[in-house]
């Protein structure tokens, strides 16, 4: 596989995983929790690195996953037990954890190849050269395996727990009354978001993970009235962002991750204006010819 293809494919996998989970975050009005988790996993990564003394993905995934769940837990607890608003508790939790991560990295890991730059912005262009070597055989780019695995995990999670995720998102009270634990699925989703975020870190970076968690899902939300369609659309849009983003970056000789997020923004703007049913322009244009839905 050529370098170009590997980079695009890695971006596609990262974007599709993020968009899939991001769709549920949006519907639960928790997009900012995705943002929070993507930052708060930093101390987990730093600690995993310090303990294992390597950039092997397994300890990092475990460290990040643990911190992601801790973030979700602290946020929930501050909100539930104390009298702190949901958004304030998210804000306090993730900035604090992120800061600890920055201190850990700058104080203890500053001299090695784990730097803030890389964590914040990622470097997808190096993906093809960072190969996974077992014994003497090279199995190909490490990030590709990692993101492929995470994407598969997310996909299986959503496919098998579809009805539970749907019900706990739409009507938690009914979910509770028919015996589906809203809390269990909240934490499972948060765990999946943490894993996905950290896997996507290396390639697109922490800040752009946020774009991929929110933008393609928000775009898909405007384009359809069905949850299953929304999930598929979000993944396709995420993947397209990666393809177009790559060529845009190539043409402008700019950051690949930056270009991908820019494309995601452009897609969203287009959907916002021209979506078949909910678009601003479409509505104004069609409004003249159709009778608005009756309301009682």
């Amino acid at each position: 596989m050529s370098g170009t293809l590997i980079i695009i494919f890695t971006g596609m996998l990262a974007a599709a995983s993020c968009s899939l989970l991001g769709s549920f975050l949006i519907l639960r009005r928790m997009s900012m929790l995705g943002d929070a988790i993507s930052h708060a996993v930093l101390p987990g990564i730093a600690l995993a690195f310090l303990f294992s003394n390597s950039r092997h993905p397994l300890p990092m995934l475990i460290g990040a996953g643990a911190l992601g769940l801790i973030t979700a837990f602290i946020t929930e607890t501050l909100h539930r037990a104390g009298r702190v608003q949901q958004d304030a508790s998210i804000g306090v939790t993730f900035t604090w954890l992120f800061a600890i991560g920055v201190i850990l990295i700058s104080a203890y890991a500053g001299h090695v190849d784990l730097d803030q730059e890389c964590v914040l912005y990622g470097e997808i262009a190096y993906v093809p050269w960072d190969t996974w070597i077992i014994g003497r055989t090279s199995l190909g780019p490490r990030a590709l395996w990692l993101l492929g695995g995470v994407f598969l995990l997310d996909l299986l999670f959503v496919v098998f727990c579809y009805k539970e995720l749907k019900l706990t998102t739409f009507d938690p009270q009914l979910a509770h009354s028919v015996g589906i634990s809203t809390r269990l699925f909240h934490y499972l989703l948060m765990g999946a978001v943490s894993l996905t975020t950290v896997a996507a870190f290396e390639s697109v970076g922490a800040i752009l993970v946020v774009a991929m968690l929110v933008a393609p899902a928000a775009t898909a939300y405007l384009l359809t009235d069905r949850l299953s369609t929304m999930l598929i659309l979000a993944m396709v849009i995420g993947a397209l962002c990666s393809v177009f983003g790559y060529f845009m970056a190539h043409a402008l000789d700019a950051s690949i991750a930056g270009a991908m997020a820019t494309v995601a923004g452009i897609f969203f703007a287009a959907a916002f204006l021209f979506a078949p049913r909910h678009g601003l322009v479409t509505r104004r244009f069609l409004g003249r010819f159709t009778i608005p839905a009756e309301r009682a």
């Binding site: 519907l27 098998f160 727990c161 579809y162 009805k163 539970e164 749907k166 019900l167 998102t169 739409f170 009507d171 009270q173 009914l174 979910a175 509770h176 009354s177 028919v178 015996g179 589906i180 939300y221 359809t224 009235d225 069905r226 949850l227 369609t229 929304m230 839905a293 009756e294 309301r295 009682a296």
Partner: protein, 258 residues
């Protein structure tokens, strides 16, 4: 006398240490239509939420068919207030009704064709079959309420707890709901309804539960729904005025929504 199928003992609920419900004791009998009536903030919704385990109890024991509530929750169908969910959620009417079946489908499994057919049947019972594929935000308030009731029907429960099903619905929907409730009753189900409109109470309900933080009275409508007891529930000499005033406010809200 038919036996008690839902018993509440010493139920108290507090929000931030302020008591909302105080020491409620009552027994609901099978095959009855029961109205819960009381002023705003009396804890009517909290009462049925506490039964469902949706708000923590400060004290109390709830038993359903002589079983602790957590073992028998599937026997209760809960209809939350219409405003409690996001009607912009990307789904259609049939899908929402199908959610009523989720408790009967094991983990990792999808709803079968039979579940789907049953959900459609439930929608049809509320005269909503033609709207089955309509996105839920495109439905009127009354139609949304019917979808919620169809969903409760799909749960095939023995006891139904409904939180203000008549709030802000059109006359046709109100009629459809009351017909449905009577049909459920004739099949031996128990229906407990949080209700606001004092005028329709004698017409709709067999039993009335008057609450204002504590239980004021509970019994057959004929015995309990008296001017004196309503007085007591709505408090002081302003009682009827408050009640009427509340109704006017409620009407006003409905009017605004129309």
């Amino acid at each position: 006398m038919t036996k008690s199928i839902l018993s509440v003992r010493d139920l108290s609920v507090a929000y931030h240490r302020r008591p909302v419900l105080w020491n409620i004791n009552c027994d609901f009998r099978q095959g009855r239509l029961i109205g819960i009536v009381g002023p705003n903030g009396a804890g009517k919704s909290t009462f049925i939420k506490a039964i469902m385990g949706l708000v923590p109890m400060a004290s109390g024991v709830i038993r359903v068919f002589d079983e602790p509530i957590h073992k028998a929750r599937h026997l209760i169908g809960y209809v939350p207030q219409r405003g409690s969910v996001d009607w912009d959620f990307p789904t259609n009417a049939l899908d929402v009704v199908l959610m009523g079946r989720y408790g009967k489908i094991p983990l990792f499994r999808r709803p079968s064709r039979q579940h789907r057919a049953f959900a459609l049947e439930c929608l049809a019972k509320l005269g909503m079959a033609e709207f089955s594929h309509r996105q839920i935000s495109q439905l009127s308030g009354g139609q949304q309420q019917r979808v919620f009731l169809a969903r409760a029907l799909a749960q095939e429960a023995d006891i139904y707890l409904m939180d203000e099903p008549f709030a802000g619905v059109d006359a046709a929907t109100e009629q459809a709901i009351i017909i449905l409730m009577r049909e459920l009753k004739s099949r031996g189900k128990t229906i407990v309804v949080v209700h606001h409109d004092l005028q329709t109470v004698p017409e709709y309900f067999d039993d009335v539960m008057l609450i204002n933080q504590r239980l004021v009275a509970f019994g057959t409508t004929r015995e309990v729904f008296t001017e004196q007891k309503i007085h007591e529930t709505y408090g002081g000499r302003l009682s009827m005025l408050t009640a009427v005033g509340e109704q006017m406010v409620k009407r006003g809200e409905e009017g605004a929504r129309l």
